[in-house]
Assembly symmetry: C2
Homo-oligomer: 355 residues x 2
């Protein structure tokens, strides 16, 4: 029996991954020059297919890097001279904040309890903040932030750069590109790819800020600064020899999502999430970790297992379903279930029965 991964990423891979990998091999894509015409066409196609899928305006740039973690470093180095502000409610939003500290900046943060979101109406972002960091979906606890809240905050803070971690939210959760200056994700979640690539989507305000910092003599990184990435991207290239395989596969998967239709993917995601939350809301022992329905992620469903998660994880595994344990301090008492386009409602129903 082949396992089906309902983990939060890396997770179950796209059903056509094997075909796409082998197509690339047959076409010689893993051997071609990253400075040649053929690679340029693959690059341009992936950018175009991704922009179509995520409804990205033409004036945003798409950059391919190593991971979402690298994206955090890149964004802080290129867009923050001294002070960023972060909404922190779990391990990954905290990492964004800590990245700024590690890079010797002086970030501030609004911290929420684990499993809770933010009361944005009552948040005052310090005036001097250059960039505000959000995590659309906190993968460690399954809390989401609504784009409408980000938009409202942007109206009050139009001068600040808004950077959004969309790692486990995309492509399900929409991004309001009028309120967001840059967003980033990695490909091993909603795109069902092997891990090893991060994607940053950024507007010219981010590039200009990086150029300004560079002009001041600051270190904005070498090969992966926004200006160097942009200079290469304009030629449909990357500064370094890229993960051409991942760029190619991402394009194929975007094509398949575009063909299937994101609306349909969204509806199916909501049906699966709804089935899980309904079940756990009614369960006598296991309850959704996120109490407030407004904050419940549709793509990372987390529930409490007061008597320990290990036996439940084991029972699911014995039946071919791999789910995630809790993150960090919650390791032994949470179960996290990824809910991505590759997942099927029939399997969700079986998981619910087995829990």
């Amino acid at each position: 029996m082949r396992n089906i991964f309902f983990t939060v990423g890396p997770t179950q891979t796209h059903p056509s991954l094997g075909k796409f990998l082998n197509d690339g091999l047959k076409k010689g894509i893993y051997s071609i020059s990253h400075r040649g015409r053929e690679f340029g066409e693959i690059f341009a196609h992936t950018v175009s297919s991704l922009k179509k899928l995520l409804n990205v305006p033409v004036d945003f740039h798409v950059f391919f890097i190593g991971s979402a973690t690298e994206a955090m470093e890149l964004i802080i180095e290129n867009c923050v001279e001294d002070k960023s502000f972060h909404f922190v409610n779990g391990a990954f939003s905290k990492r964004f904040f800590q990245t700024a500290q590690e890079l010797r900046k002086h970030p501030n943060a609004r911290i929420a309890q684990s499993g809770e979101g933010f009361d944005f109406a009552n948040v005052k972002i310090p005036k001097y903040s250059e960039l505000v960091g959000f995590t659309q979906n906190e993968t460690s606890t399954g809390v989401k932030i609504e784009m409408a809240d980000i938009r409202a905050l942007k109206k009050k803070n139009p001068d600040k750069l808004f950077a959004v971690d969309i790692v486990s939210a995309t492509p399900y959760a929409p991004v309001d590109w009028g309120a967001v200056d840059c967003a980033f994700f990695s490909v091993q979640k909603g795109f069902g790819m092997p891990s090893g690539m991060g994607v940053v989507i950024a507007n010219d305000r981010c590039i200009k800020k990086a150029e300004k910092l560079h002009g001041k003599g600051m270190n904005i990184g070498s090969f992966h600064s926004f200006p160097t990435l942009l200079k290469s991207a304009r030629k449909n290239q990357t500064p370094e020899t890229p993960n051409a395989m991942a760029i190619y596969i991402l394009g194929r998967i975007c094509d398949s999502y575009n063909k299937y239709g994101l609306d349909k993917i969204r509806k199916e995601t909501e049906i699966r999430a709804g089935a899980m939350y309904d079940f756990f809301d009614k369960h006598s022992a296991y309850k959704p970790f996120v109490k407030n329905k407004k904050w419940r992620s549709k793509t990372v469903v987390v529930f409490n297992t007061p008597n320990g998660s290990a036996p439940v994880i084991k029972r699911l595994q014995d039946n071919g379903y791999i789910v995630g344990a809790g993150y960090g301090e919650f390791e032994s008492h949470h179960i996290r279930i990824g809910n991505f386009p590759m997942h099927k409602i029939s399997d969700v129903k079986k998981i619910i029965k087995l829990v």
Copy 2:
């Protein structure tokens, strides 16, 4: 007809790449958690197989990052407070030097003409240099540096960190780990893999230097500093979600090289290189770009085409052989041929006939 890539990297992939990619898919390696036991075993196996192949002492650490270009940034940020020294004789050694400049350090360089090596006996490295950068094989022009020269220089400069770019030299060219503090490569050359991963092999002196700089309040990077990489590597992990596929494939390819025998790979590399250099030395029009035999790379063979490289490249391509044009200013008058373990003497003989 399937093309055979004799380019300098990305190049012809390992003949078992398709099998390895599909094995990984079947085993679920692209879905497993990068914090779990199974991934840890893959990580440990690849490190061990690579160390065996390259004869790396136990006290060196192996780190997986995005590219060799990233390795340059990582090494400069972590091992240079202000001044590095670089041997520059082509585009890639120059990039190492320029990376230090971009990171706001104040590097010095010894510059040789394109196609020439260095007269190391007469080089004085400035006393204040913290790190000396070498490029074992200058991929842009096909000039090599002998390990014996590096060793002799290390004897005179035992206090300085020696960092060696072994990108297009490894696994053919040996590394004297007694003279080298860190070395780095990318997987799309001698390992015949798709691009997208760099590997750094570093000793404790590099880690200690990074810790010292960090202690002084300097920015040594966030997730990919030597100390964070080491902290994760001790658990057979990476700080970020890694390119697990590439780590797995690299292990399989190291296994296959270890089984075949590096001595045999080396002998075959030399036979192929010898055949090409002999031919071009005797050719009436095309001559090896590197005149001095001591400096001629065995893995990147470059020859002059005084009347332009395009017709020769076209003729080879029409016969299924893809070779590289010259680099940068030499684009239209050089041809570069990669000579890696995947390549066959029978094809080299055909290329010679077709040129």
